[in-house]
Structures are given as C-alpha cells and as structure tokens.
C-alpha cells in the first residue's frame, strides 16, 4: 500500500499555512516502469485537487502541467506565494468549474515540487539523486499519473487537459489509456517535439551545465546552485514563449530607467530587464537538474514513433472526444503542429474539434486571459459533461 504524506519540496516552504497539497508514496513493490528500461521505486507523486469527486467518480478532470509548471493550478504557489498558474481557467465558476468538476494536477516525475525527481534523496545512498536519477519521458509522467489515479480510485477521467508539455501528456494519455479518457483537450502542443524546439532546449541545458556551480549535477552536495545558468536557460526559453509582436508592443525599444543609451552592458532596454527579472524569479522556485530532465523528456516526445510513424494509429478506434486548441502567434507549438494532430484524429475517424485562436501573445497565450479560449473550453467541457450526465 501507498502512504499519504506531505510532499517535501526542494525549497523550504516560505508561505505560512499554504496548502502544500498531498503526496502518495508508493511502496517499493509498486515501482514505476520507465521507458529507459528500468524501474523506479519508491515513487512519490505530489498532487493537488480542487472541487469534489462525485459519488459516481465520474467528474474528474486531470490537468497536466507544462515544463516549468507544477500542481498548484488554482491555489497560491507555496514558494512564491503567487496565484496558481491556471487560476484564470480553473476554479469556482471558471471554464474548468470546480463547482462541477474534481480537478487533479500532479507534479510530473523528474519535477521539483514533491514528486520523485533528481533533487530528491536517493534512499539507497542517502544523497540527492542528481544525474543518477533515470531519464524520464512524457509517457513515464503519464504512467505515474495513472498510478496516482489508481490510488485515488478513479477509473476514468472526464477530461485530461494541459498546454504545451501538458498537451503532450493529454495526447499520451489518450493514446496509452483510451478507455480511461472520456475527452482530451490538448492546448498549444504537438505530437512530437520539433528540431527547433530541441535546439532551444539544448541551449538552455548547455547554459546550466556551463555554470561552474552545477558541479556535474551534484551541486546539492557542494552546497551551491547553478542559478546563473538556470536563469539564462529561462531567459532564452522565455523569448520563445512570447511573440515578436507582443515583445514589440510591450517594450519596443523603450529604455529602462534612463534617458539615453549608456554605452555599457548593463541593461539599457526594458526588454532586457524584463528578461533578467524572469530569469531571477525562476531560479527561486525551480531546480536546475529538473529543468534538464524535463526538457529532455519533451525532446524525446514523438507519439507517432511508437506507432510505426503513423500518428493516426495512436488513436485507432478511440472513443475519446478531442478538442485541440492553437494560437495564431505561437511559433513554438505553431498551429500547423496542432493541426497535424487534428488531421491524424480525422484519419482515425475520431470525434475531434480544432480551434485556432487569434492572439499576438505567443505560446504563453494558454496561460493568459484569452476569452475565446475560455469560451471554447467551457463549450467543449460543457458538452462532454452533459453527454455523461454531469450537472
């Protein structure tokens, strides 16, 4: 049997009385079987829930988080105190309405918010795993979530959804456990990570590994943190989450607290200090090794590869209802990648909706105030709920 425990965070929890969620610690005889060809035990999965599970256990909505997300979907982050990352979407009366649905979000394996990851202590050595933690995949993340749902006694989820890497997990869920997924709503995602996206990730990883404080991944033993490398990785990645138009609209060539350029390398431009801020705040809440592991998992994601390169085969005979959402200015997971999923689902004669939303806010649009996305999610989830008699 698994025991329920409080998750242990890499960082001390600063917020007094914050709801830090729960964690399931699976017994060593219930290992997680990994794509890398080994098993991992004991597995801890930290998660948050919102709303109430109905008596029929039929109103569960599984939210999957993105690369740097976590289980704090709709409640304050225990380290930063900032609102949950999808509070615009999830909550009472929100498009994913917690008055109707029981929302679950688990920290992914390899993460740093309580689920087993490279920053946790290896019970066999009593030292942090560091790079001895096994490489994980999106499918491993989904397997760990399936173990969690088993533990919670939830056979089927009404919907599995998420943006970016969360969308990858939603797709993997629908492919791996079609009978457990009534509907799937992958947002701003792809069925495979593109060469360009792998390239950006490699820049981030190299920035971390080039930081002398990284110490080959064993920085915890050296009592250091590769904060500079991780901040640079975040800065580079953050650019890819925005769009050229949005950057121009928000910052243009405006200068930061000065009248004229300084002929020096301190940040002259607002866009520079914005990026610095993004990098600096990120390192307070995220672990560098987790960043390496999770970016790698995304790089390895290629759903069609498991089906002889034919994506439609991943969804053959599926009864799951799909809603794919993309954003016009998202160049990281562009409409064409999302449409590829819709085409494959059509080829599998699946029940699919595909919506492209016009916005200049880039990939991050799925996290932002996008009324048309909210209306789409509300309409889709409402139709699915009505079909399954959930009021």
């Amino acid at each position: 049997m698994a025991e329920i425990a409080n998750p242990k965070f890499l960082q001390p929890v600063r917020i007094a009385n914050a709801d830090v969620g729960q964690a399931v610690v699976f017994a060593p005889d219930r290992p997680l079987l990994l794509d890398a060809g080994r098993s991992f035990a004991p597995l801890t999965v930290a998660f948050m829930t919102y709303g109430e599970l109905n008596a029929a256990r039929s109103n569960a909505v599984l939210v999957c988080h993105a690369l740097t997300g976590d289980q704090f979907v709709a409640s304050p982050h225990p380290i930063t105190g900032k609102p949950g990352w999808w509070e615009t979407m999830v909550g009472p009366g929100k498009p994913i309405d917690t008055n109707r649905f029981f929302v679950i979000c688990a920290n992914v394996i390899g993460g740093c918010m309580g689920t087993s990851g490279p920053g946790e202590i290896d019970s066999s050595t009593r030292e942090p795993f560091g790079l001895s933690f096994p490489l994980v995949t999106v499918r491993d993340m989904v397997r760990a979530q399936a173990m969690l749902l088993d533990e919670l006694g939830i056979d089927r989820v009404l919907c599995v959804t998420g943006g970016s890497m969360g969308g990858m997990q939603a797709l993997q869920w629908a492919a791996s456990y079609p009978e457990r997924v009534v509907s799937a709503m992958p947002i701003a995602t792809a069925a495979r990570h593109s060469a360009q996206n792998i390239a950006f990730h490699e820049v981030g990883r190299q920035a971390i590994m080039a930081d002398p404080d990284w110490h080959g991944g064993s920085y915890q033993l050296h009592k250091t943190r590769p904060a500079k490398g991780l901040a640079v990785a975040r800065m580079a990645a953050h650019i890819t989450y925005l769009s050229e138009q949005a950057l121009q609209r928000k910052f243009g060539r405006s200068l930061q607290n000065r009248e004229a350029i300084s002929f020096a390398f301190a940040p002259d431009f607002q866009v520079e200090s914005y990026l610095h801020h993004q990098g600096m705040t990120f390192v307070d809440r995220f672990d560098a090794n987790s960043y390496l592991y999770i970016t790698r998992a995304m790089d390895y994601f290629d759903l069609a590869a498991d089906y002889n390169g034919v994506l439609a085969e991943a969804f053959r005979g599926t009864k799951t209802r799909f809603c794919i959402i993309s954003f016009t200015s998202d160049w990281l997971f562009p409409t064409i990648e999302n449409k590829r999923i819709a085409h494959a689902l059509n080829a599998a004669a699946a029940n699919v909706s595909f919506v492209e939303i016009e916005t200049d806010k880039g990939h991050d649009s799925f996290l932002l105030e996008e009324p048309e996305m909210f209306a789409t999610v509300r309409g889709f989830l409402g139709a699915v709920a009505a079909e399954h008699g959930i009021r």
């Binding site: 819709a342 909706s353 595909f354 919506v355 492209e356 939303i357 209306a375 309409g379």
Partner: protein
Amino acid sequence: MSARQGVLRPDLAAIAAMIPEGAHVLDVGCGNGALLEHLISTKGVDGRGLELSQVDVNAAVTRGLSVVQGDADTDLADYPSGVFDVVILSDTIQSTRSPRTVLRHLLRIGKRTIVSLPNFGHWRVRLALLWNGRMPKTPALDYAWHETPNIHLCTIADFVSLAREEGATIERALALQSAGRTVAMRPDAWGPNLFAERALFLLKGKETIAVPQGGIATPRSRTSQLLF
C-alpha cells in the same frame, strides 16, 4: 441561431429530412453548425463538421459541437473511406478550388453524399448576362464578380455530368426555390436547369456497399410531386 428557434434555412431543412436517425454525419463547410445542432437535437446523429472560417468554427465549438477548422480542398484527404453514413456539402462546392477532387473525396468518405448548390443555369442568371451583359447578381448569387467566393459556379447539368464522371449514382434530386419551395426533379430534364434556383442531390459513390441501419430516409417534406 436559426436552429435554436426551430427554423432552418429551407435548403438545410431539405437536407435534414434526408438524414436517418442516429447516423454518422460529416458536414463539410458547416458554418456555425446550425444544421449539425439541428440534426443532433432532432435526430440524435453523431455529427462532425469541417469549416474554413475560424470565427464560425469557434462559434460552433463554443456551442459544444465537434468541428474542425480546415479546408475541404486539402483536408478531406485525411478522412478514411466509408466512415460516415452521410457527408453533407451544402452551398460550398462552388467555392472550392477543385470541385472534382472534393466530390471524389465526399463520395469516398460517405456512404451517401448530399450536395446542394446554386444553379448558374437559372433563367435569372441567364437573363442577367444576356440582357445586361454584366455578371449576374441574383438572390441566390448575391455577390459582385470581384468579391465572390464562388469561383467554380456551375449549372445543374454541369454538376450532374461531373457526378456521373465520378461514378456517382444520383439517388434523389430536388429543386429549391428561394421562397423555400422544394420539389423533386429529374436531373437530366431541361426544366430544372432553367427554373431551379438551387439544387440538392443525394449521391451514392461507386464503391459504396449497402448502408446499414435501413439506409437513407426518403424526404418527408413537400417533395412528392414531380413538376418538371
């Protein structure tokens, strides 16, 4: 929405009358989904849509319909053969880039195909061109030549010959007037080609096998008389 008030555009109502209960239906060029919504609520169909306009798609999905944003000219190729009982193409074939390819795919994907189109052979159209020497603007074709989406207009006779070239059997043909009157027609007669503002065809592709669950229903609307 007109569907919510129970009043459907006459051509859509004529199409709806042909759809059997519980059928798997694909509406190509479904607009905001008025017909799909009507078919789901009145006939319990499993309805899907394909629509080019993003605004229309978003409106349809917001209403809980399964609609994909896409282009009939390119995206029909994805669908496997024979997966839908009925595929509908209403008032859309004239705005596709390759009507022949689109029709070929429709006949392949659906066990039955319903096509409705404005008739460029209608006397008003003929007269407008003959009399004014200008591109016709009629109630059924209400666009100036330079802004029309209708890049491949055809007459009833033109469509009938294309359908036959593609090996389709015309199982039913209806003439539709803008006033909403629907009458059965013989596809080869000269009359409908001159007097029908719109036409509606129920087609069966050449490789189609027998339709399960009782096949396509006979239209029950005011279509009993054979006028032409």
